[in-house]
């Protein structure tokens, strides 16, 4: 069945050719576009004997995302074959026509590439055997048609039309996707065959109305059904070959194709009847009425297309097999006559430079041949006997007479059908008479239009001959095709029908006659109608559309301004609100807060510490405007935190917290010096109550959660670490072994973050000019004596001792509380003290002051240590250790993880100093005095 893949893939692969061959000239491009289509068409005809002759079903499938029920599955039955024929056949004609239509300066490569892409997408829609795949191709048709409508992107009308088409069909596509997923969920499979066989299951489902409406939204937007019809006339900003192809023969037919495809699965209910037939009927009339008053040739054809699509939809909506057959038949006929009419309109535009009916006339004298072709095609559109349009229209009238379901209102369906037929005749006459007959306006006479190039006419000729041939010998030409495609549509035995031209004198014939005569009269007496029409308000669809889009944007912008008003409080409140709500839910669930896990006894020291922390925290909040006091208070909190760690068997944490506390306070003091003190603003009362709500609920919730966990026993994986610390990691301090060995990768990531943060801070503070305050917040002048002698002396004495302690902490870290992080912080504190006591210049004269390489070296050392284990065939960061006997010192253990810890140490020292020195330097640079 690779033939099936080839039919879709040939245009898809061929889409690459025209654009890439553009430099070789227009003829090569057009040929390159035509060849894959021709090949695919030949393959399609190879499949004809089986699919059309024997009614076989060809299927081919490749798994794509089997878990999601998505496979590259294709099927070729009668219906798919018919549409593939329309797509490829008319596509080929459009390529020939387009080659002559396009101006030399138009980029032909892009045009044909997009056209082929669209063709492939369309083929995918009609041959897809998987619902999701169908939607994928459906979306692809929307996107490629957007690009084709906007082909002349320099024109504002083209851009607007394209945007409107994309918005509507895209939204419809989303609805379709939702509908298809619902169907797939109900049926349990996205396989089209299974879905089509499960019609009863779908129709019985409670969600059937929703599925139907969603699918119909996709159908109605794509096929420009009322009230979504307005995008189609504005899509006429596209080059005429695109209009002829997409907006008469193929894309707008995708919607009705879907009606046909899902007919066995979704049709047959009253809801289907009401929704589909009323949308179709409304579209039929609105389109026909609007078409009569268009002055733009393509606009007239566009509204006529809308009207005919409405007719097809109405037929599908009638819920009878015969109506479905008529619908399929009309799809064929409409595609042939409408495509040829679009091409004729394009020829007129091409040769005269205008498509405005009011500026045209009498063209029969200049292009008699085109005039004849257009007249025949227009007669087919009007439903004149001996042409294909007559046959399907006759079938339509017969079905309209046979409507069973509107009850006592049944009579109005045939009435409205006849009225639509009259309008259709009237606008067809207008199309032919106003353009080709009468007297040419003077401007046109001066222009002297002539017949188009020979081959620009050939596609029109072929289509017009088909209109005639089908009209005269229908059974011979389309009998088998119609039978096969209608059978595939119904998924059931075909009803009795006759394709004869003459059925005797009957009511449908009478309706046809009334429509023809009435239409002629309508055209004759059109002037009063035109006057009437002019009085009606005519909303300009793009304006209305753009206006509503603009309003949407304004509303969205207002919403964004509400959520994102640039205030930190607003963001934080939005982030914290869900947290607060979750916390309230947690509190509301009232579990057993105090579990039976054995609790630690409380002593007086603990109570004192807790009370201190609580008071200091609250005082920080209250006294936050007295910054120095607030800073002292928060450092009390930090101190209690480190004491808590110490008390609760976490000496490493206590050491870390203590040294971090020192650098944090230094940092905040430096910042405090620079930040302005004046300019206090008050939160509004509402803001304060919001903040109180958030902080109280989150604080209470987190506290209760912690209490709950602490008082309930839990599983832990730490037994592994404790057991393997000495035999596996060679260290007794399990926390440190976890850091540098078991979870070394984490630590590597962590010091990398530290390095990045330091680099970021450096970048933020680089070239920052801050005014140095001369006075403190209370208005006192800052002391001129910047470096007190006592501090200088003590700090210089402390430095070697502090460094020694840091080394000791680093080395012992594997076995005793300590390690790279703590040692690094202690070293940093010792060095920062030198900055504080002696000034930046003094320190930088003695210590290398470029900390960037240090940070990089630290991270690199840790990483290289990890990589070394790769060299000897172990996973990244595997550690090894051994024991050395040092004279005097005695037994000494050496682990590779210690080298890693050294990397951590260097990174921490470098990053901390990089940050603080940069901040400290701000004052030196600005004041320009220094030490």
């Amino acid at each position: 069945m690779s033939v099936l893949f080839a039919i879709v893939l040939l245009p898809l692969a061929g889409a690459l050719l025209p654009r890439s061959l553009q430099f070789m000239g227009r003829h090569v491009v057009a040929t390159a576009a035509a060849l894959p289509v021709l090949a695919a068409l030949l393959l399609l005809f190879l499949a004809a004997p089986a699919v059309i002759g024997e009614g076989a079903l060809w299927q081919a499938s490749l798994p794509w995302l089997p878990g999601a029920g998505l496979s590259l599955a294709f099927r070729l039955d009668g219906l798919a074959w018919l549409f593939a024929l329309l797509i490829l056949g008319i596509g080929l004609l459009v390529i020939v026509y387009g080659h002559y239509y396009l101006h030399k300066n138009d980029p032909g490569g892009r045009f044909f590439s997009l056209l082929l892409l669209f063709m492939a997408a369309m083929l995918g829609v009609v041959t897809a055997d998987n619902l999701i795949l169908l939607v994928v191709f459906w979306e692809l048709t929307s996107i490629s048609s957007f690009l084709l409508i906007g082909y002349w992107s320099e024109q504002s009308a083209a851009r607007k039309g394209a945007r409107m088409a994309l918005t509507l069909t895209g939204a419809g596509g989303l609805a379709l996707l939702a509908g298809v997923i619902l169907i797939g969920q109900t049926v349990g499979s996205y396989d089209l065959g299974t879905v089509l066989a499960s019609g009863d299951l779908i129709r019985a489902d409670a969600l059937y109305p929703l599925m139907l409406v969603l699918v119909l939204l996709g159908v109605f937007t794509k096929s420009a059904q009322f009230p979504f019809h307005f995008w189609l006339p504005h899509a006429m900003a596209a080059p005429t070959p695109v209009s002829a192809y997409l907006h008469s023969a193929t894309m707008v037919k995708a919607g009705v194709f879907l009606l046909a495809r899902f007919y066995p699965a979704l049709a047959g209910t009253d809801l289907w009847f009401v929704l589909v037939s009323s949308a179709g009927l409304a579209t039929l009339l609105v389109g026909a009425w609007m078409a009569l008053f268009r002055h733009d040739l393509k606009g007239l054809l566009a509204y006529s297309t809308i009207s005919h699509l409405g007719l097809i939809t109405l037929l599908f909506g009638l819920n009878t097999p015969l109506a479905a057959v008529a619908a399929v038949f009309h799809i064929i006929n409409h595609a042939t006559f409408k495509a040829s009419l679009f091409m004729a309109a394009g020829i007129v535009d091409h040769e005269t430079g205008t498509r405005d009916i009011r500026q045209l006339g009498g063209l029969r004298r200049y292009m008699p041949y085109t005039a004849a072709l257009a007249s025949i095609a227009a007669m087919a559109m009007a439903g004149v006997p001996l042409l294909n349009g007559f046959l399907s229209k006759e079938m339509f009238f017969a079905e309209a007479l046979d409507t069973p379901l509107y009850g006592s209102l049944n009579w109005f369906v045939p009435l409205l059908a006849t009225l639509a037929g009259m309008l259709s005749v009237a606008y067809s006459v207008r199309f032919v008479h106003d353009v080709f007959f009468g007297i040419a306006p003077p401007a046109l006479q001066a222009h002297q239009p002539h017949e188009p190039p020979r081959f620009m006419r050939v596609p029109v000729e072929i289509l017009v001959v088909l209109c005639l041939a089908v009209g005269i010998v229908p059974a011979l030409l389309v009998g088998p095709l119609l039978a096969a495609s209608a059978a595939a549509t119904l998924g059931a035995p075909l009803p009795e029908y006759s394709l004869a031209i003459w059925h005797g004198f009957n009511l449908p014939l009478a309706m046809s006659v009334v429509a023809l005569v009435g239409g002629g009269l309508l055209y004759h007496f059109r002037m009063p109608l035109f006057t009437l029409q002019r009085r009606w308000p005519k909303p300009h669809a793009p304006d209305v559309f753009e206006h509503s889009i603009q309003q949407l944007i304004v509303a969205a912008a207002a919403f964004v301004r509400f959520v994102d008003n640039g205030a930190l409080q607003r963001y934080m409140a939005w982030l914290l609100l869900p947290v607060a709500l979750i916390m309230l839910a947690v509190i509301g669930s009232k579990p057993d807060w105090l579990g039976d896990h054995s609790m630690m006894p409380v002593d007086g020291l603990a109570i004192l510490g807790t009370a201190l922390a609580v008071v200091a925290s609250l005082a920080t909040v209250i006294l936050r405007r007295q910054r120095l006091v607030a800073l002292l208070l928060i450092s009390i909190v930090g101190l209690i935190v480190s004491l808590t760690f110490l008390r609760l068997s976490a000496p490493d944490l206590a050491l870390t917290q203590l040294s971090v506390e020192v650098v944090t306070v230094l940092l905040l003091m430096l910042a405090m010096y620079f930040l302005p003190t004046r300019g206090t603003i008050e939160s509004s009362r509402w803001d304060i109550s919001r903040d109180l709500f958030l902080s109280l609920s989150i604080g209470a919730g987190i506290g209760l959660l912690a209490l709950f966990v602490m008082t309930h026993p839990g599983e832990t994986i730490s037994a592994f670490f404790i057991e393997n610390s000495v035999p596996g990691g060679g260290g007794k301090n399990v926390v440190n072994v976890i850091l540098v060995d078991f979870r070394g990768f984490d630590t590597l990531g962590e010091i990398t973050v530290l390095a990045i943060a330091a680099a970021g801070i450096y970048a933020l503070l680089e070239n920052l000019g801050l005014c140095l305050p001369l006075y403190d917040p209370d208005g006192r002048r800052w002391a001129k004596e910047r470096y007190p002698v006592v501090l200088q002396v003590i700090s210089r004495a402390v430095l070697p001792i502090a460094l020694l302690v840091a080394m000791y902490i680093l080395v012992r870290g594997h076995n005793m509380p300590g390690g790279g992080f703590i040692a690094g912080l202690v070293t940093a504190v010792a060095l920062v003290l030198q900055y504080v006591a002696n000034g930046v210049h003094w320190v930088h004269a003695r210590v290398p002051n470029n900390y960037h390489p240090l940070v990089a070296f630290g991270v690199a050392l840790a990483a290289v240590t990890g990589l070394a284990s790769l060299l000897v065939g172990y996973p990244f960061l595997t550690s090894t250790f051994g024991h050395l006997h040092w004279p005097v010192v005695g037994e000494f253990e050496l682990a590779s993880a210690m080298l890693f810890d050294l990397g951590v140490y260097i990174t921490v020292v470098g990053a901390t100093l990089l940050i603080l020195a940069k901040l400290g330097k701000l004052s030196v640079v600005e004041s320009g005095e220094g030490n």
Partner: protein, 117 residues
């Protein structure tokens, strides 16, 4: 003891949240610092509380859970880097915009508000 620790966590969290909702940079930095304390103790407390049982092999009869400790240790250092970053951001904003307010209003808006009052 558990109740004491939970109380500390609750108060620190609440104070931290309240502070980061203030209108100027300095209290926001204080709030973040406070919130870091709370988060660190919270994470640490997930290993349950134990006295005199440091996770150093041979030092005690049984050991407390070392894993949260290892996590919190790096969290403390990263928390410092984060506070420093925020501080640098606040200083840069002060240098660039001439205000330490984080209420989304420009200096000009502030001035007009001032006049209105």
């Amino acid at each position: 003891m558990e109740i004491m620790v939970a109380l500390m966590i609750a108060v620190m969290t609440g104070c931290g949240v309240y502070l980061i909702l203030r209108l100027r940079t300095f209290p926001v930095v204080l709030g973040l610092t406070m919130l870091s304390y709370a988060v660190n103790i919270f994470l640490f407390a997930m290993g349950r509380l134990r006295a005199d049982a440091p996770a150093v092999i041979g030092e005690a009869a049984n050991y407390t859970d070392p894993l949260p400790q290892a996590l919190v240790l790096t969290a403390i250092v990263i928390g410092f880097a984060m506070t420093a970053f925020l501080m640098a951001l606040a200083l840069r904003a002060w240098g660039e915009f001439g205000t330490d307010h984080v209420d989304g209003k420009t200096v000009e808006q502030d001035a007009t508000d001032e006049e209105r009052r």
